[in-house]
Symmetry: C2
Subunit: 114 residues, 2 copies
């Protein structure tokens, strides 16, 4: 994507959505977002990790280390009940915003019939 400013604000929504499906670790989220969106998103580590810490501080996520089976330890994040509420709210905001942009892009043709 060319315009990074466009993606601002949608990142928490996308991260919370991924975690609704299953627990994930940071690096996994970056790869999953890229593949799910047909490479539209290329979330940077320097953006994600501070965001995860922030969401955890807010109580939207909890985390645990998992290195079971002698594997490398990775930090998994899990969506909390509070996080589910925040996700629902952010999803609703996205709907509203996206609808608003499309209304403007569709032009003056359909308006005026309030």
């Amino acid at each position: 994507m060319a315009d990074k400013a466009l993606t601002a604000g949608s990142t928490p929504l996308l991260v919370l959505k991924l975690l609704e499906e299953k627990d994930m670790y940071g690096y996994e989220m970056i790869e999953t977002l890229a593949s799910r969106s047909d490479q539209t998103f290329d979330l940077k580590a320097g953006t994600l990790y501070p965001l995860l810490h922030d969401l955890e501080k807010q109580g939207a996520l909890s985390s645990y280390d998992d290195g079971a089976g002698g594997k490398r330890v990775r930090r998994y994040y899990s969506l909390t009940e509070k996080g589910r509420g925040i996700l629902a709210q952010k999803a609703a905001e996205w709907e509203e915003f996206s609808r608003g942009v499309n209304l403007v892009l569709q032009g003056g043709a359909i308006h005026g019939m309030a």
Copy 2:
């Protein structure tokens, strides 16, 4: 809208789109955006005017004062050819971004077949 970060980046697209239809002055754009989007957008003057100056500096817009008929002078903006190109590009970026978000929101159900 609750989340101002979400709207970041879409503002130039919306402004350029309005000017594609007709010349407008700043205050008029703020009101038109609010009414077209069912009040989803509430663009602030402190955001818009610097943006207009910036777009003009880039060559996307030209401007002229109009106080014809003894009316109050207002500064009208007009989309240039270059501005039309930028608009087309930003509209394409919006499509791509919006599609990407929706792919992620629709969940893992449909992916994996590529």
